[in-house]
Amino acid sequence: MRRVLDVARIQTVNWPWVLAWPVGLLALILVFNIVLFGAIGDAAPPDGRTTGALMSIYFVMLVVHLQTITQMFPFALGMGVTRRTFYAGTALLVTAQAAVYGVVLAALRLVESGTGGWGVGVRFFGLPFLVQSNVFAQWLAYTVPFLAVSAIGVFMGVVFKRWGQPGVYMVSLGSAVVLGGLAVLITWQRWWPAVGSFFTSQSTLVLLTVYPLLIALVLGGAGWLAIRRATP
């Protein structure tokens, strides 16, 4: 267990870069949005003052943990770390990072609603489908998707390490074929209304937690199976 912690720690020896940079980027985008919506004044109607820029921090997490595998993994193995310990340390870091970012986002969301959208009525954190009724549910809705995007990044990194560029192409192509095939099947069977009602019948909390968690677990497990025979 100590070694697992050490592996998590080597990934944060330059913590300003790893932990603060994504938050800093988010802060910059937030300020930009506040200035922008302040500047255009009433040109944007109250229900049009919503921005999807929050997604950027999720994308950053995906890229960061893709690099965890492509860059940190070869280094750690050279230092005599087992794949098992490395993967466990990474899982620990990802979970802690998601939890902390969830707290940060939930807190900023409270500030946002308390200040009337940063004084200019902008909805940056409290996006309509993200808003939950209590603080814990709100935290979950922010945190769990972090787990999913990190798992996607880790999984793609592992595929690259194990099977190289062809592997990445195969997985990308494969998922495109599966998703495209599903779309064709749904269209052909005229299932779209059923699909639509399925999603609208679920609460946003379920959509933001249960399914992302499922993605995180499935890809996390698949990544583990693949990394066991990966050469750094």
Binding site: R3, D6, V7, R9, I10, V13, N14, W17, V18, Q67, Q71, M72, P74, F75, A76, L77, G78, M79, G80, V81, T82, R83, R84, T85, R228, R229, T231, P232
Partner: protein, 290 residues
């Protein structure tokens, strides 16, 4: 490791390799590009997988074995470091992962090699990047340390400093070191045990001193040399007019035969001649397998 083979599809990287590392000695793992040196080290560190054979490190198989790998440091030829690391981050990370890390020694080495601790890894020159690996490998004091051609981009002065520091620290803190290199002449005073690999097979696995004393180059009139080398393993021969010059192995004594001159054979010559007799086409190597 014993009878270890490694195949990548049709390519046989290792073909029945058996060798034993001696505890607390410096080993030279020699061989041409693509001979299988890196593959051997990858298998010994559990990073690569043998297709067949038996592998034991500290009495256990290294794959996913924390008992073994906790005592191992493996610095690769182009060791990858996270792009966002500065030099000091790499040192700190290595310190966290090696129980016997000596931070004072690491600082001393950083100063001696003139490495900028605050510089980003991404901005280091090729030689400086190699120095990072060399320092980590030395300061880790890992009971089993592998250096896989760690000198890429290093000038002769820095390389000599590496050899000197390795030897000095090794005599104070004995440990098992495996150094793979092409620069055989440079390390011939350093290495105590030689393993020569060619085309996935072990050609030499011997104590360096014994090895040096066993081979000799004999020069003299053709007839005299011919009668001397008859029945011995000839590694190399060249004839110039009436004179013949032959490198032979397995010569325990140097008899005073009239007209014959004996010269010691350098480790490098011995390795080159032995590899040539193995039937390798002489020319560019076929590139590393990694």
């Amino acid at each position: 490791m014993s009878g270890v083979s490694k195949r990548y599809g049709d390519l046989t990287a290792l073909d029945g390799v058996s060798m034993e590392l001696q505890e607390n000695r410096i080993h030279g793992l020699l061989g041409r590009n693509g001979a299988g040196k890196t593959t051997v080290m990858q298998i010994l560190t559990g990073q690569g997988f043998e297709t067949a054979g038996t592998v034991e490190v500290f009495g256990q198989h290294p794959y996913e074995n924390a008992n073994v790998l906790n005592r191992v440091c493996f610095i690769k030829e182009s060791q990858r470091y996270p792009d966002n690391f500065k030099v000091k981050h790499a040192m700190r990370a290595a310190q966290l992962l090696h129980a016997s890390w000596d931070d004072g020694f690491a600082r001393e080495l950083i100063a001696d090699f003139g490495l900028p601790a605050d510089r980003s890894i991404k901005k280091l020159s090729r030689g400086m990047l190699s120095i990072v690996g060399v320092i980590i490998g030395l300061a880790s004091r890992a009971p089993l340390t592998f250096f896989d051609e760690p000198y890429l981009g290093l000038d002769a002065v820095a390389r000599q400093m590496f050899y000197d520091r390795l030897l000095a620290d090794y005599s104070e803190h004995p440990r098992t070191v495996v150094l793979s290199t092409h620069l055989i002449d440079e390390v011939s005073d350093l290495i105590e045990h030689v393993v020569l690999i060619d085309k996935g097979r072990v050609l030499i696995d011997e104590d360096a001193d014994a090895l040096r004393s066993r081979a000799v180059t004999v020069t003299g009139p053709v007839a005299a040399v011919e009668s001397f080398v008859a029945g011995r393993t000839q590694l190399h021969r060249e004839q110039l007019g009436g004179f013949l010059r032959v490198t032979v192995s397995g010569v325990p004594e140097r008899p005073m035969v009239g007209g014959l001159e004996f010269e010691p054979v350098s480790l490098q010559q011995l390795v080159v001649r032995t590899t040539q007799t193995n039937g390798a086409p002489v020319g560019a190597g076929n590139g590393g397998v990694r």
